[in-house]
């Protein structure tokens, strides 16, 4: 594959995955979500059984009891005599309920233990910081030169544990990737840990699950799980700076980026743009979506996002930038080189 078709193919695949993203707790693709799913099935079974039993008892009572009305004399004899049969039945029902609850509590505790004991050898460490309304991800490495930052779309290796350090730069957000694990709150002033592992390749969608302001509804992220060698290849790509081999139009586009407001918020590695108020764009062209999982990453959408962001994601912090058609075309061309 050439330099131009590979990213297209990726885009296609990612777009295809985006069209039907996996965001269901009922289809676990990793060990943590699977353990929770197992507990779910046990709990659902027991609760359904109890519900059916209670309803059956009620319906039986309603069906078989004789009818009366306001004129029927009330039977006050229970006030002065015990009702042993009722007592026995109520006690049995209570006893059964307690026993079943106990089973559930034990299963709950067991699941909690398992969730907290996922093996962590050879883990990938990612520090995710939530912002209003996007996700910053820093892949840690013992060797500082191998640390890199990206935004909104993560790749992880299948079969290796991933330790996520979760932080927030402003309000409380929640990292929720239901295919792989339950959620964890990202609380300013605190660091939380989430440990998960993907056991099947695929692209999974996650979403912020703590109300965080205007665009809480449109704060999603994608996690692609792939075989370890492809993951390492992706990581190496992410570590590279932006290319300097640019056509005339692409250079013009880079100039637009540096001279207009883009450079005030965004980082592109290697060209001297180092602001961190918005997502790192160094490998923007390799992403399937824009604006934290909201828009497909194609030329029209990117143009719309740059020029009229409030229409795509009302309340977003990204300002609208007025560009002439020439400037816009050049900028888009440049951004297209950021793979």
């Amino acid at each position: 594959m050439t330099r131009t078709t590979a990213p297209l193919a990726l885009l296609f695949a990612a777009a295809g995955a985006y069209a039907e993203p996996a965001q269901s707790a009922l289809r676990p693709a990793g060990i943590q979500a699977e353990r929770i799913h197992d507990l779910w099935q046990l709990t659902l079974a027991i609760c359904a059984l109890v519900f059916a039993a209670v309803l059956a008892a009620l319906l039986a009572a309603l069906w078989r009891a004789p009818r009366g009305d306001a004129a029927t004399p009330a039977d006050v004899s229970p006030l002065s005599r015990p009702e042993p049969r009722l007592r026995r039945n109520v006690l049995l029902a209570v006893g059964a309920s307690v026993a079943l609850l106990f089973v559930l509590i034990v299963a709950d505790f067991q699941t909690d233990r398992l969730l907290n004991r996922m093996p962590l050898a050879d883990a990938v460490n990612i520090e995710v910081t939530a912002h209003q309304w996007w996700w910053e991800a820093r892949y840690d490495d013992p060797e500082p030169g191998r640390i890199f930052t990206t935004a909104n779309e993560l790749h992880i290796p299948v079969g290796r544990p991933v330790v996520l350090k979760l932080k927030s730069s402003d309000v409380i957000h929640t990292f929720w990737l239901p295919s792989l694990h339950g959620k964890k709150d990202m609380i300013p002033g605190r660091t939380a840990l989430l440990r998960l592992r993907a056991d099947q390749p695929g692209t999974y969608r996650g979403q912020c699950a703590e109300f965080c302001g205007f665009e809480h509804a449109l704060m999603a992220f994608l996690v692609t799980a792939e075989p370890n060698d492809r993951y390492e290849a992706w990581a190496d790509t992410q570590r590279r700076e932006a290319s300097n081999e640019l056509s005339a139009q692409e250079s013009r586009g880079r100039q637009v980026f540096m001279e207009r407001s883009c450079v005030m918020c965004h980082t592109i590695q290697g060209i001297g743009a180092n602001a961190t108020f918005g997502p790192d764009l160094t490998h923007l062209a390799g992403r399937a979506t824009l604006a934290s999982g909201v828009l497909p990453n194609n030329r029209e959408q990117l143009a719309a996002w740059i020029t009229k962001p409030q229409q795509q994601k009302p309340g977003t912090n990204m300002p609208s930038t007025a560009l002439s058609q020439e400037e816009l075309d050049a900028l888009l061309a440049y951004l297209g080189t950021l793979k």
Binding site: A25, C47, A65, L79, V90, L104, K184, I187, Q207
Partner: protein, 639 residues
């Protein structure tokens, strides 16, 4: 001797006329604002809370219309965020807790055989404070400065940095209003229940509904202070620069959550426990027998109240509080199902051995069994940390909370309205409309909320103004919206039924259902002083048991508001105090307090300056009248 007005001796008729004169509300506009008769205030209170219920329902309908289709633009995120904040806030603070206190403030004295509530002027004040707090919130909303940080307003989003302006301040101060009102009502109910029971009504003979109101009121005293502190600290963080919730200066965002949920979890039991009393009243009457297991029922309610204070961290499983702590809360959150289960089994036992009459009140009570049980079971699911971590903050929780609140509180509440409407108004509601009301509500509710369980499991978070079409959530959302529309129709039917029956319903008489408790032993509606001759209580179901009302109380003055107080445990006659007369000061003091509270949203000095009219108002409220004091002294009997 039946003392309803149709069968009075001449003497008693004169006494009844004097009693009416003594206890009724003063006439005219001034009289309307000075009224303190507990039934008058209770009716206003009930109507106001139902008004808020309707408002909250309309907000929900708009939300459902927006969510019916993916990527819909009926409303934008700013308005939607206000909608769900206002909906939750209205339902939780302005409807669900106050309506239970309102109904209680009507029924409790009647069930106890008393002429009045304790502290009737304070009761009126509590109503006005509640009304003004609710109005303040809605005025803010209609001026587009309504709160938009969710009904539990997590910081830092709700703090000064991320919610500038006054929106969240209105919300936080509304809490001050409603919490003050609820606390005062709780004191009133506890005092009434402990000290103003009919002679012979030992604690062991108290109606189960009165037990629920007693337990709930104690819970209010212990739970409300937590939210009071939380909201005050939020206001001071926002207004005068304190740092309770600011991590940069040693504060903690989770402090808010702990303080809020320490209140918030008991709060849902404040909403749930009184309806357990409705259930017992209705099921007994329509099964023609006492509820099985009185002692178990009372202990179950008390156990629920205690356990309710030990659950709050289950709202915080997704935070990084220590894991071992979370396990404790799993156990306690699961355990609270047991007392509720005990109650459900006792009711089923009662129905099993009763003679059933399927009138509308019973239908609504039966709806509880289906809906609340399902909601309680999803609650057991949520008690598990693992499961909660998947479904927390999703539509699964929205489904759960509506199943327990609507099934556990609203259905019994509607049953209670059908049941006691004849007592309040003297006319029965239409059975036909009642049946349509019930079935539409039941079906509409399940159509609206059951799919939300599936939506949550399928990944849909809550508090989202829209969602992508590609997620596949559109059909279930549309179904939920259809369900919401059906609920709206059913509520409309209820309103029509109530309005029609008020004028044209069949006359009810004192006891249309043949029920056994004391409120049915007086006219419908009751006279101003509740009972022409207050009953002595001889059993748990005085109107059913032979010798249930072995005597009547005599010797209470009928030309002044004299009542009988009895001893705490055994309800032996104790004192004959006089209740205060109507007064404009509770209303005026409430206005002064409102000015202080609203002013303090804008400047802390309002607390100082505003205190002056409050002091004046409350002092004049208290200050005794010379003439009536002299009359009191003339008939004083010292202890």
């Amino acid at each position: 001797m039946n003392t309803t007005t149709t069968r009075l001796t001449a003497d008693m008729q004169q006494s009844a006329a004097r009693l009416e004169q003594t206890w009724r509300d003063p006439p005219g506009i001034l009289g309307w604002f000075s009224a303190i008769n507990h039934k008058t205030i209770a009716v206003r209170f009930m109507l106001t809370t139902m008004g808020f219920f309707l408002a909250g329902g309309v907000l929900a309908l708009i939300m459902r219309l927006q969510l019916a289709r993916p990527e819909n633009h009926l409303v934008g995120p700013d308005f939607y965020n206000q909608l769900f904040t206002m909906h939750g806030t209205t339902m939780m603070f302005l409807f669900a807790v106050p309506v239970m206190q309102a109904v209680g403030s009507y029924l409790v004295p009647l069930m106890l055989g008393a002429r009045s509530l304790a502290f009737p002027r304070m009761n009126a004040f509590a109503y006005w404070i509640f009304l003004f707090g609710g109005l303040m919130l809605y005025v803010g909303f209609l001026l587009d400065i309504g709160p938009d940080a969710g009904w539990f307003a997590y910081v830092p989003l709700a703090g000064p940095d991320y919610s500038p302006g006054k929106r969240v301040d209105f919300w936080a101060q509304m809490i001050t209003f409603t919490e003050l009102s609820a606390l005062l009502e709780a004191i009133i109910l506890i005092t009434t229940i402990f000290k103003m029971r009919a002679p012979g009504m030992t604690l062991n003979r108290m109606p189960l509904y009165v037990w629920t109101m007693l337990v709930t009121s104690f819970m209010v005293l212990f739970a409300m202070p937590s939210v009071m502190l939380a909201s005050t600290a939020l206001i001071t963080d926002r207004l005068v620069g304190t740092h309770f919730y600011n991590p940069a200066e040693g504060g903690d965002a989770l402090l808010w959550q702990h303080l809020f949920w320490f209140f918030g979890h008991p709060e849902v039991y404040l909403i749930f426990i009184p309806p357990l009393g409705f259930m017992s009243s209705i099921i007994a009457t329509f099964s023609r027998r006492p509820i099985y297991g009185y002692a178990a029922m009372v202990l179950a309610v008390i156990a629920t109240a205690f356990l309710a204070f030990g659950l709050w961290v289950h709202h915080m499983y997704a935070t990084n509080v220590p894991e071992l702590g979370k396990s404790f809360f799993t156990a306690s959150s699961a355990m609270i199902a047991i007392p509720t289960a005990i109650q459900i089994f006792c009711w089923i036992a009662t129905l099993w051995t009763g003679k059933l009459s399927f009138r509308t009140p019973l239908l609504f009570a039966l709806g509880f069994f289906f809906i609340l049980t399902l909601g309680g079971l999803t609650g057991v699911m949520l008690a598990s940390v693992g499961l909660d971590l998947q479904v927390h903050d999703t539509f699964f929780v929205v489904a759960h909370l509506h199943y327990v609140l609507i099934g556990g509180a609203v259905f019994p509440l509607f049953g209670a309205f059908y049941y006691w409407f004849p007592k309040f108004t003297g006319r029965l509601m239409s059975e036909t409309l009642g049946r349509w009301n019930f079935w539409l509500f039941f079906i509409g509710f399940n159509v609206a909320f059951f799919p939300m369980h599936l939506l949550g499991l399928a990944g849909m978070p809550r508090r989202v103004w829209t969602y992508p079409a590609s997620m596949g959530w559109g059909d279930m959302n549309l179904t939920a919206t259809v369900g919401a529309a059906i609920i709206a129709v059913s509520v409309l039917l209820f309103i029509i039924n109530a309005l029609k029956s008020r004028r044209h319903g069949a006359p009810a008489g004192p006891n249309p259902w043949g029920a056994g408790t004391l409120e049915w032993g007086t006219d419908s509606p009751p006279p101003a002083g509740n009972f022409v001759a207050p009953p002595v209580c001889g059993g748990r179901y005085p109107l059913w048991e032979p010798d249930g009302v072995p005597a009547r109380v005599t010797g209470l003055d009928d030309d002044r508001r004299a009542i009988l107080t009895t001893t705490l445990m055994d309800a032996r006659p104790d004192l004959r105090p006089t209740m205060p007369s109507p007064s404009i000061w509770p209303f005026l003091s409430a206005i002064a307090v409102t000015v202080l509270f609203i002013g303090s949203i804008f400047t802390p000095w309002a607390v100082v300056w505003g205190a002056v009219p409050v002091a004046i108002g409350t002092t004049l409220w208290f200050w005794p009248n010379r003439k009536s004091t002299e009359r009191q002294v003339a008939r004083e009997v010292r202890p």
